[in-house]
């Protein structure tokens, strides 16, 4: 099996030393002063020595067993001693490659290469440690073989698409459960105090602070979304908002996985809704190159017409916010008596729309070309009723289309998993 393989490289020979130096620190910390007091200096030293020797031996053996090789378009990393693992990473899938130099490694002239693969929040494959020159060379090779790194954020100069009226924002935040529960809670506390007949200062103060704390969430949301404006920039949508801390973020249009529309119960009389975005990876801050937390709100409050316009920009071909969603079969009422009428799924050529929620209604629009995998699950009760749930997974999460007829669920899953590479609209969106 070792016929025509490209050269397998080892990590730098000093790596086990560095790893066991880390282990030394950890073991000393674990034994702590208490251990020192119990064991006495000599035995303490012996124990630390034994621990370090053991971890050192382990590090050497695992260093011996770890290797990487670059085979054309693939990086293969073998590691593990008892649990052997070979990880094959196609170079096209690398999102970023970073050379990091922790303090100890810097002293030894070494570096750690961290490979970021899309989706995972974790760094999937750190190569620790390589010589600095090797690390830089390998990084350049990997980047050259894969796709080019993303360009820097351009200056956002843009036509404003939509601004949120601040008055609506305040009204909307007043119509949140947090605010509405406060009078109820106050009444309860007051009633109890009257019954008990004593108004302790402490009780009063703690009640007041608790109620103030309840208001912090709506107030923070109001401050964060103050002067909310969405405009059209060269790299995608630019979302600007915030009173205290004004932020400008770029929504990379080609990274939007799904859009969630939420109709809270208390907003329903006004017909308001809010829109959330699910984005893979990070959204870049417009000013600096530093990574900001991803944009998650596209519209803090708005009317369906405004929302539909924004949705059409981020997810072209979504077909509006009131899709003709087919509900599950009537027998699903055994499992979801209240929700059944509000569940549903609709398909267009580019988007799957999933409706759910009884009190707070939700509509999730998933971009079909972004679907990573589709799962069909059938629980025991569902099997009795010949129902199944289809889960649609994207890099930003998963949406469940619950309680569909089994045969229909299968067709839906097959349709969704099909033609995944077609990024441009085209072809009929085969009905469910």
């Amino acid at each position: 099996m070792t016929a025509d393989r490209p050269a397998r490289h080892r990590l730098h020979p000093l790596s086990p030393l560095l790893h066991s130096a880390k282990a030394l620190a950890v073991s000393v910390a674990a034994l702590s002063w208490q251990g020192y007091a119990w064991l006495g200096p000599l035995r303490w030293l012996l124990l630390v020595g034994a621990l370090v020797a053991a971890t050192g031996a382990w590090a050497v053996v695992s260093w011996y067993n770890t290797g990487y090789r670059l085979t054309g378009r693939e990086l293969r990393i073998d590691d593990g001693l008892l649990w052997r693992r070979t990880r094959a990473i196609p170079l096209e899938r690398l999102q970023s490659v970073e050379v990091r130099r922790p303090a100890l490694a810097q002293l030894a002239g070494l570096a750690e290469l961290r490979l970021e693969v899309a989706g995972g929040a974790r760094t999937e494959a750190p190569l620790a440690y390589l010589g600095l020159a090797d690390a830089v060379r390998l990084r350049d090779e990997l980047l050259a073989a894969g796709r080019a790194p993303a360009a820097d954020a351009a200056a956002p100069a843009a036509a404003v698409l939509h601004t949120v009226r601040d008055r609506d924002l305040v009204v909307a935040q007043f119509l949140t459960p947090e605010v509405w529960t406060v009078p109820v809670a106050a009444a309860l506390v007051g009633y109890q105090a009257v019954i008990a007949g004593d108004w302790g200062l402490l009780a009063l103060a703690s009640t007041a602070t608790a109620m103030l704390a309840v208001f912090t969430q709506p107030i923070r949301r109001t401050l964060r979304h103050w002067r909310f404006a969405v405009s059209d920039g060269p790299d995608g949508l630019v979302v600007a908002h915030g009173l205290v801390e004004h932020r400008q973020q770029i929504v990379p249009a080609d990274r939007v996985q799904s859009v969630r529309a939420v109709w809270p119960l208390l907003w329903r009389r006004r017909g308001w809704l809010r829109l959330h975005l699910d984005i893979a990876g990070y959204a870049r801050g417009a000013g600096e190159g530093e990574s900001a937390p991803p944009v998650d709100t596209l519209l803090p409050v708005g009317t369906p017409a405004e929302a539909a316009r924004l949705v059409e920009v981020v997810l072209p071909g979504a077909g509006g916010l009131a899709p003709d969603a087919a509900p599950p079969p009537p027998r699903a009422a055994w499992l979801a008596p209240l929700a059944r009428r509000h569940l549903g799924v609709a398909l267009t050529a580019d988007v799957v729309a999933v409706r759910s929620g009884v009190l707070t209604r939700r509509l999730t629009l998933v971009s079909r070309p972004r679907i990573q995998s589709v799962r069909v699950t059938t629980g025991p009760l569902q099997r009795l009723l010949d129902l199944a749930t289809v889960h649609v997974d994207t890099a930003a999460g998963s949406v469940a289309v619950v309680h569909r007829d089994t045969a229909q669920a299968w067709r839906l899953a097959a349709t969704l998993a099909d033609r995944p590479t077609a990024r441009v609209a085209g072809g009929p969106g085969a009905g469910t």
């Binding site: 649990w83 196609p90 989706g119 990573q372 995998s373 799962r375 890099a395 998993a417 990024r423």
Partner: protein, 169 residues
């Protein structure tokens, strides 16, 4: 094998490949090792404690552990038989689960990377596990109990088929 009925609407042309029956032994050994540990701990508790409620509970616990292990053994055998995978032109299908049946479809173009892993027990039985990772954390395309040659073949095939430029991010 009564377990394919839930998914019969699917075209019959699909060739489901089973996982190796040796996986049953891996799972059983793991299960009984855990059960033995539990029984040993409970027995030790029973012998060292004075007679009383706690010792009685430990005694009952021992039998409960044994009964649970027996039931699990039976379901393990069936669960391994229920596990299957199928390679189609554009996607990999993996099905598993008895009580809750699960089926995962992963288009090859969505593959981020492939892991082939084997623990000590799996290696003793000459088995390996192939895990297909996509950009979604929810995808769970895991195929356990493959012969090493089959695992390598699957990995290489997946890697080759996943070669189209990354889409869907």
């Amino acid at each position: 094998m009564t377990d394919d009925d839930a998914f019969t609407p699917w075209p019959r042309t699909l060739a489901w490949r089973p996982v190796s029956p040796r996986l049953v032994w891996v799972r059983l050994i793991r299960l009984w090792a855990a059960a033995a540990l539990g029984v040993a701990a409970l027995t030790a508790a029973r012998l060292t404690l004075p007679d009383g409620l706690v010792a009685g509970l430990a005694h009952a616990g021992t039998w409960a552990v044994l009964a649970a292990a027996a039931v699990r053994s039976w379901s393990t055998v069936r669960a391994v038989r229920a596990w299957g995978y199928a390679e189609r032109d554009h996607d990999l299908l993996v099905r598993h689960g008895l009580l809750i049946r699960r089926l995962t479809l992963v288009p090859y173009a969505r593959m981020q990377f492939v892991d082939v892993s084997a623990g000590p027990l799996e290696r003793a039985f000459k088995l390996a596990t192939v895990t297909l990772h996509t950009a979604s954390a929810a995808s769970d395309a895991v195929v356990p109990g493959l012969a090493p040659t089959e695992a390598r073949r699957l990995r290489d095939r997946l890697a080759a088929l996943g070669a189209d430029p990354a889409a869907g991010l």
